[in-house]
């Protein structure tokens, strides 16, 4: 359902909060334009204090989303409504606070708070894009399967692969078992975000004379399939060829499943990564904001 049953958070209540945010921005800009202070515009004029108060209250309210989201019995609107308002009013904050600063920046705690706020807003903006974009991709990729079901299916496929390989010469079983054991989905945050298949596999050394094994990268089951293909080309026995073909079919199915799992992990990572910036820096912003307000009052 493109456009979905009820529309995205941006469309909530016929964009009620977009209009509220726009009204706030227009009002602030108008006041800023109209206001002619004796000194250059800054946070210390009456308008500066007003905008500062509005900004600080907005920040506290934006932080309160975290509380509302966890107040499962609350009747204070819906979380969806809160999130829609959070997005629009959060963006408006950029205008309100920039006007509050009167474009006076420096190497001080005030500008630190401003900088943190900007990072939080930009990360939030990324979150909005992620929320609009990734659910569809995730749904298309999962095709009705849950992650657990995919993992179960993978385990089932592995059992079948190993049973098949055990009926074949020993080297096949070794390769197939190591193929399972060395399968890696995800790993570091970076690997997750890149959607990299970090699987590896032990293959028998190329030259039979040297003996031993070598550990090679095996993205998308490529190395195993190549190795099986090579064994197939060398096989002269009818029965063994048939067995290798069957094994390749199973590994092919495993490859499809792995790709889905890797992609799923990747999308989930993108859906969450921004929160690791957005939330901690929100608290940092709160701390910087308190410092900013206190310092202003103490050093008045």
């Amino acid at each position: 359902m493109a456009g979905a049953v009820r529309g995205s958070i941006l469309d909530y209540a016929r964009k009620r909060y977009l209009w509220a945010a726009l009204a706030l921005c227009v009002a602030c800009s108008f006041l800023y334009y109209w206001h002619e202070p004796a000194e250059p515009p800054n946070g210390g004029t009456w308008l500066g204090y007003t905008l500062g108060t509005v900004g600080a209250l907005l920040i506290l309210w934006l932080l309160a989303l975290g509380v509302r989201k966890r107040s499962y019995r609350s009747n204070l609107g819906t979380v969806r409504g809160w999130l829609s308002a959070h997005v629009y009013l959060g963006l408006a904050l950029l205008i309100v606070v920039t006007l509050h600063s009167g474009f006076q920046f420096g190497w001080n705690v005030h500008t630190l708070a401003y900088g943190l706020m900007c990072i939080v807003i930009v990360s939030g903006l990324f979150g909005v894009v992620a929320y609009l974009r990734y659910p569809q991709l995730m749904s298309d990729n999962r095709t009705s399967l849950t992650r657990e079901q995919m993992l179960e299916e993978l385990a089932g496929l592995d059992d079948r692969c190993i049973r098949q390989a055990k009926a074949m010469p020993a080297e096949f079983a070794d390769v197939i078992v190591s193929n399972r054991d060395r399968t890696a989905i995800g790993g570091s945050a970076w690997a997750l975000l890149r959607g990299r298949d970090a699987s590896r596999v032990f293959l028998p050394a190329a030259a039979a004379s040297t003996g031993g094994e070598r550990l090679v990268d095996n993205p998308a089951q490529g190395a195993v399939l190549d190795w099986l293909g090579e064994r197939l080309s060398r096989s002269s026995e009818g029965e063994l060829s048939q067995q290798i073909r069957e094994l390749m079919t199973l590994i092919g199915a495993r490859r499809m499943l792995l790709q889905k799992l890797v992609r799923d992990a990747q999308i989930r990572a993108w859906l969450e990564i921004w929160l690791y910036v957005h939330v901690p820096l929100s608290f940092a912003l709160l701390a910087a904001l308190i410092a900013h307000v206190l310092s202003v009052f103490i050093y008045w």
């Binding site: 359902m1 049953v5 019995r73 009747n75 979380v79 990734y134 089932g156 079948r160």
Partner: protein, 802 residues
Amino acid sequence: MTATFKVAVIGAGPGGLSAATHAAELGISHVLLEQSPAHANTIQRYQKGKHVMAEPNVLPLRSPLSFEAGTRETVLDRWGNGLTQQRVNVRYGAEVVRITGCKPAFDIELKSGERVTAEHVVFAIGVQGNPRRLGVPGEDLPCVQYTLDDPDEYRDEAIVVVGAGDAAIENAIGLTRQNQVFIINRTDEFTRVKEGNLNLILKAIDDKRIECFYRAGCARIEASTNGAQRPYTLVLTTDQGEARIACDRIIARIGAIPPRKFVESCGIAFPSPEPTSLPQLSAQYESNVPGLYVIGALGGYPLIKQAMNQGYEVVEYLLGRRIDPADHPLLEKKFASLPYRRTVDETLALMQSRVPLYAEINPLLFRELILGSNVLTPKPGEAVFRKNDYTNTFFTILDGSVEIELGEEEKYRLKLGSGQFFGEMSLLSGRRRSGSVFAGPGCVLVESPRREILKMINSVEGVKRVIDQHFVIRAIQSSFAPEASYDELKTVTAGARLNRYKSEQALFNEGDEADCLHLIRSGSVSVSRNIGGRDVVTTYVAAGNYVGEMGLLGRTRRTATVRATVPTETVSLDESTFNALLDRNPRLKEQVQATVRKRVSANTRMQAQPETGDLISFLMRQGLGEATDVLLIDESLCVGCDNCEKACAETHGGTSRLNREAGPTFANVHVPTSCRHCEDPHCMKDCPPDAIRRAPNGEVYIQDNCIGCGNCERNCPYGVIQMAAKAPEKPGLLAWLLFGTGPGPGEAREKSKDAGPKKAVKCDMCKDLSGGPACVRACPTGAAIRMSPEKFVELASSGGRG
């Protein structure tokens, strides 16, 4: 040698134990015959430490044995001690195969060939019956068993599971963890099993974790010769000839033989062939055979305490003593508000004589019915229920009158007087109330819960006949002739018929001759048309509406196929009946034509976008045709934060009643595993304490008097009920945030081992939260939505991308 007793009690369950112990206490010669090797066989088979509950709390216990809620072990120990202390004459392993003779000399034949003679016989054998046996040579070998308590008890064995039902599948799957498992299926597929179990077994067979023999039957079991790897061999007959499985153990799960046949063979009569029908009993639990008594679940009393009380009472009765049943004070209290000064028995008799519907009910069943019912004395003008309420109780008018308000724009009021009844429409269809009812002066009503009335319908032929007849007439009345009187319609509607359809069965096919109109009484149907060689679903019609009117008006052929989406009942009106209705009320034709116009335009719209039909078909395949309110997830919006599940768990004792990720998806519409509040809830079917109820807004919920038996969990085809204990309280938000005490909001709570009894939990649509369902309100993106099936067409045409 034959022993003679005053009373023989068959079955050492709660009822039988109580009866025999009371007989022992009074010093009467008695014998308690139990086929299994220990007392209370059903409770013995509960898992260790299972909590046994003592509902209904209001009912006092009257038995020489003590009983209160506690673990299985405590309950069993106390009963065991009671048996010893009172020196009860129990014979274990004594299976009764035949009872002949009559009072005062019943001849009881045991399987061992032994005979027992008794003046009175008390049946306390419950309803579970004996497991169906394999019936092949070798079935008495020690490797054959009919139950499986703990699959992890066995390791590294070759085990054959015989059967293809849910129990067989669950056993087989459980055993695969540590054993080699075979399953024997008589047919070539697994039908009549839950979707989840079907998937599990097919996958296990596919993965070669279980080897399945289809179209196979057991021929015999042989003990292997010395030196064989497995001690036994099961020989099968299959299409390919004989097959042999070497095994350690055979578990047969091929159902149970209901005890009814045996009971009937003793001469006890049942009023109808319905499986749920109960034997005819007197108020003293005596059957139609003098001297044969029936107590406990077999007589329709499924709870432990009821059975124990009856055990005590039946001994008193057979001695000829008249005592008031244990529930006497409860009825006294119930009748206190009545404007009559009569005893309990007199009031009950008055009720039966006033209300013709009750006349045929035997006194014992009637007492139980009233015990489960409420007596109401509403003030004149007060609403008993309102149109579109979701309640499903049934009302009889004892005194005074009520007015029923019917009709859409124009309201008509019908008066019902003393002795009549109402509320059967919602009771039978599971749909909302079709009209409002207001109390008249001096009104006294009996409100009976759905389950009690269904019991009457299945047990008393007269009740079923009268209610069915009224249903047909009132269905026609509310749809086509709200202003007509009952008697007037009675003649007009003589040609109306009641029809039953299975799921997927067609009411009629496209191209058939149009000869009748169907009023849907329960269930729902889908309407489809053949477009380009493909069946395209164009709409869904719920109970309470009619289909097939187009053909009848134009006298043509059917333009669409109408199929039941779930088991469905309809009232069909043939052309002459329908014309008679039209003659009565010329405006009716306009009304029906307006409906036709609406449907035609909707059909045309749907044909322009056949993919919407695919979405409706998909939703119907998920069993949503019987839903009243279902949770759907729009996957194009769902970010997978699980806040819905967290909100559910946080507002419901720590257990989420929905599983967001599980379940199928089609065109971005995901059907998570969550209760859909069926019209005719499967979970309600067999709830011993009648703890599952429907609230006025349609929520199907489980009350606190749940005894944790798990019947509803097994009966739900959609897997949305689980057994869970209440999780401990959480710290406050600040305490968690600042000091990290305990789990935070949305985090799972650790459940301690002694968390208390497990009870059934399911979605209650947050009926106790003023804001409505927490899952929907907690969804940050609006992906979680709740809707009724009537909205599916709207949803589908809002843009299913397919």
